[in-house]
C-alpha cells in the first residue's frame, strides 16, 4: 500500500480525518523548508503538500503569489524542492509528501526524469494545477510506474462525467476546490460542500479532501465532518510570511494544533 493510502486507512480506522497543510517550498528561504515540514507534522499534519514555486502562478491569490516570489528570489527550482523532500525523508519516513505546482517546471525536466527523481526523494504524490486529466495521461502513466500517486482537482463546476473521468485516473486522494476563484479567496459554504463531496463519492473511490477557503479551526471542524481530509494553504503561508524564518515553524505548528484539536473534538 502507498504511504498516502496507508495514512488514510489508519485515520479511517481511528475515525479521524486527514489534516493537510500546504506551503511554498523555499519560502521564506530554502533552509526553512525542512524545519517547517517537521513543525507541521509535530502540530498534527498527516500529509504535507509542498508547493513548487513558479513564476506565473495563475491559480493562486496574492498570499501564495507572494510566497512563490520569495522562494524564486532564492532561486528555488523543482530539483531544489526534491532535495528538500529527500532531506525530510532522512528523518521522517511515515508522513506522505505531495508536490503541488504548475506544469512547466515538470515539462522542462521531462516526465521520466521527474518521476524517477521524485521517487528517489521519497515523494508520494503529485498535484499539477494546470494539468487537467485530458492533458496528462502520459505523466500519470509515468508517475504510476514509479509508484507515485497523481492527485487531481475537482471544482463546483466539474460535471458528473468529468468527476468520473478523474475517478478513473486519480490515486491517493482527490482535492475538491470548494470555491470559485483563486487560493485565499472568499468564504466557504459548508452545506454546499457536503452535497458536493457526496456527489464526488459516487464516482471516486479514493478519499476526498477539501480546500480553498479553510482558515480557522471552526471551519476545519465543520468541513471535516463531511470530507476525508482538509487542506489548509493560505493560512499556513500567511503565518510563514508574518513569522519569517525565526518564528515560522512555531507559528505553523500552533496553527496545526488549533486545526487538529478542533477537528478531533467530538460533538459541537
Amino acid at each position: 500500500m502507498s504511504r498516502i493510502a496507508s495514512t488514510f486507512a489508519q485515520l479511517a480506522a481511528a475515525g479521524r480525518q486527514a489534516l493537510i497543510p500546504f506551503f511554498t517550498a523555499g519560502d521564506p528561504d530554502p533552509a526553512s523548508a525542512v524545519p517547517l515540514m517537521h513543525a507541521l507534522v509535530r502540530g498534527g499534519a498527516d500529509i504535507v503538500e509542498l508547493g513548487v514555486p513558479f513564476s506565473d502562478p495563475m491559480a493562486d491569490g496574492p498570499v501564495i503569489q507572494r510566497s512563490s516570489e520569495r522562494a524564486l528570489q532564492h532561486g528555488v527550482s523543482l530539483l531544489g524542492v526534491l532535495a528538500m523532500a529527500r532531506e525530510f525523508r532522512t528523518v521522517n519516513t511515515h508522513t506522505p509528501v505531495v508536490l503541488m505546482g504548475y506544469a512547466n517546471p515538470i515539462e522542462r525536466l521531462g516526465y521520466e526524469r521527474f518521476a524517477r527523481e521524485a521517487r528517489a526523494a521519497g515523494v508520494d504524490g503529485v498535484l499539477v494545477v494546470d494539468y487537467p486529466p485530458e492533458e496528462c495521461e502520459d505523466l500519470v502513466a509515468c508517475l504510476r510506474s514509479h509508484d507515485i500517486d497523481t492527485i487531481f482537482l475537482l471544482s463546483p463546476t466539474s460535471t458528473d462525467a468529468r468527476v468520473a473521468a478523474v475517478g478513473k485516473l486519480a490515486s491517493g486522494y482527490v482535492y475538491y476546490v470548494s470555491l470559485r476563484g483563486v487560493t485565499g479567496a472568499g468564504h466557504i459554504d459548508t452545506a454546499d460542500v457536503a452535497g458536493q463531496v457526496q456527489r464526488i463519492r459516487q464516482h471516486v473511490a479514493v478519499p476526498v479532501g477539501v480546500g480553498f477557503g479553510i482558515r480557522d479551526g471552526a471551519t476545519a471542524k465543520a468541513i471535516s465532518a463531511v470530507a476525508d481530509a482538509i487542506v489548509v494553504g493560505s493560512r499556513v503561508v500567511l503565518e510563514i510570511e508574518e513569522g519569517g524564518a525565526a518564528h515560522g515553524p512555531a507559528r505553523v505548528q500552533a496553527v496545526m494544533q488549533e486545526f487538529r484539536s478542533a477537528m478531533d473534538q467530538t460533538g459541537d
Binding site: D56, M58, N104, L153, S158
Partner: protein, 399 residues
C-alpha cells in the same frame, strides 16, 4: 491545396495548444467552445459580424503598393495590408468585435482583458462601450507607467484599468491576473484574450476572427496584381495579426509565410522576445508552445522596444507551423525596426506601429535579394500614434 483543419477537437495543433488550466476553468471553457462553435456556423451571427466589420471597423482594409519604400529596398515589390486604418488603429479590433458579440450572445454583462501596450485594452474598452458592457482591463504596473496615453484612452471609453504589481509587472502578469478574475467571476464575465494564445478555444477563435485579414488579401491581390504574393510577412508577439493573415494562405503552398519576432537588443544578448527563434517548448497560460524560460522552467523577462511584442510565449499554432516548416520565423532588432519605422514615415507618409515595423524591416531586407517581379505582402498591423513617446525618447526627446 492540402486540407488544413487544425486544431483538433481538443484544441491541439500537433503537440501544441490544448487546455492547460485548473479544473475550475474547464466548465467555462467548455461552455465558451460550445457557444462559439454554434455561432460560427450561424448565418445570422455571421451577417451581424460582417455588418459590424464593415460599418464600425471600416473593413475591408485596402492593400497599398509602397512604391517609394520598394525603390529604397531595391528589389521585390512591397505591398501593405492596411490594418492601421481600422477603427482604433490596429488589427486587434477584428477579434474584440467578434468576441464582444459572442459575449453578448452568451448573456455576459462584463468583459475583462489584459493588455501590454494598451492597444488590446483600447480595442476591448471600445467594443465594451459599443455594446454597453462593463469593462475591466488588467495592465502590468510597469506598462501603466510607460503607456499613460492609452491608459487615459481606456478610461475615456469607460473602462476600469487595474495595474498589476505581481511578478515582472508586465503583460504576462496582466494575463495571469485576468485569468484569476475570470475564474472568480466566470458566471457573468467574458474574457477577451488579446492574441492567439490561452487555452482552447481561444487560439482558434481569435485566429478565426482575425482571418478576415487574410481572406481579404486572397481576394484583393489577384484583383490588384493578378496573382498571390511570393511571401506574406507579419510581426509576431502572441501572433494574432500573423495568424490572421497566414491562415487563409496556408493552403496556397507557393506563398511563403514569414513571422517576424522581436529581436530586442539582439538574440545573442538575451534581451529579446523571440520565443520561436530562441525558445523551447513548455506550458504557459493554458497552452503548450514555445517559451522563453530558464533551465528550471521559470518564465524569464523579455524585452522589445514594442510593448505589443514583449511576451515570453507565442500562439500554439505558430509553434506547429514552425515545426512543420509551413511558416518561417526570424527576428528583427529594435534598431532595425526603428529604421523601418522612419523609412515608412518619410517615404510613404504612413506612421506604422513599432510592432508592424518589425515586419517592414524584414520585408526590406528580403526585398533587396529578390527580383522586381516578385511580391512581398506585409501586414501593417497597426498605426504608430501610440508610439510617439517611445520613438521620441529613443531620439533623446521628451514630448
Amino acid at each position: 491545396m492540402k486540407l488544413y483543419d487544425l486544431p483538433d477537437a481538443r484544441g491541439h495543433f500537433g503537440p501544441y495548444g490544448g487546455t492547460f488550466v485548473a479544473e475550475t476553468l474547464i466548465a467555462a471553457l467548455d461552455n465558451l467552445r460550445e457557444n462559439y462553435l454554434r455561432l460560427k456556423d450561424d448565418p445570422a451571427f455571421q451577417a451581424e459580424l460582417a455588418y459590424e466589420l464593415a460599418h464600425y471597423v471600416g473593413r475591408p482594409s485596402p492593400i497599398y503598393h509602397a512604391r517609394r519604400l520598394t525603390e529604397k529596398a531595391g528589389g521585390a515589390q512591397i505591398y501593405l495590408k492596411r490594418e492601421d486604418l481600422n477603427h482604433t488603429g490596429a488589427h486587434k479590433v477584428n477579434s474584440t468585435v467578434g468576441m464582444a458579440m459572442v459575449a453578448r450572445h452568451m448573456g455576459k454583462k462584463r468583459v475583462i482583458a489584459e493588455t501590454g501596450a494598451g492597444q488590446h485594452g483600447v480595442a476591448s474598452a471600445t467594443v465594451a462601450a459599443r455594446y454597453g458592457m462593463e469593462c475591466v482591463v488588467y495592465m502590468g504596473a510597469e506598462d501603466v507607467k510607460r503607456q499613460a496615453q492609452n491608459v487615459y484612452r481606456m478610461k475615456l471609453l469607460g473602462a476600469t484599468v487595474v495595474p498589476v504589481s505581481s511578478g515582472s509587472r508586465t503583460l504576462k502578469d496582466a494575463l495571469n491576473e485576468a485569468m484569476r478574475d475570470w475564474v472568480t467571476n466566470v458566471q457573468d464575465t467574458f474574457y477577451i484574450i488579446g492574441t492567439v494564445a490561452g487555452p482552447h478555444p481561444y487560439p482558434m477563435m481569435v485566429r478565426d476572427f482575425n482571418s478576415v485579414v487574410g481572406k481579404e488579401c486572397v481576394l484583393q491581390m489577384p484583383e490588384m496584381v493578378g496573382r498571390q504574393p511570393d511571401a506574406v510577412l507579419a510581426c509576431v508577439g502572441g501572433g494574432s495579426n500573423a495568424m490572421g493573415i497566414f491562415h487563409p494562405y496556408i493552403p496556397h503552398e507557393s506563398v511563403r509565410l514569414i513571422g517576424v519576432e522581436a529581436g530586442g537588443d539582439g538574440i545573442n544578448t538575451g534581451r529579446h522576445s523571440a520565443s520561436l527563434s530562441a525558445g523551447t517548448p513548455g506550458v504557459l497560460h493554458g497552452n503548450r508552445t514555445y517559451l522563453l524560460q530558464d533551465e528550471n522552467g521559470q518564465i524569464i523577462e523579455t524585452h522589445s522596444i514594442s510593448a505589443g511584442l514583449d511576451y515570453p510565449g507565442v500562439g500554439p499554432e505558430h509553434a506547429w507551423l514552425k515545426d512543420t516548416g509551413r511558416a518561417e520565423y526570424v527576428a528583427v532588432t529594435d534598431e532595425e525596426a526603428l529604421t523601418a519605422f522612419h523609412d515608412l514615415c518619410r517615404l510613404e507618409g504612413i506612421i506604422p506601429a513599432l510592432e508592424s515595423s518589425h515586419a517592414l524591416a524584414q520585408a526590406m531586407k528580403m526585398a533587396a535579394h529578390m527580383d522586381p517581379e516578385q511580391i512581398l505582402l506585409v501586414n501593417l498591423s497597426g498605426r504608430g500614434d501610440k508610439d510617439m513617446a517611445t520613438v521620441a525618447a529613443h531620439m533623446g526627446m521628451t514630448l
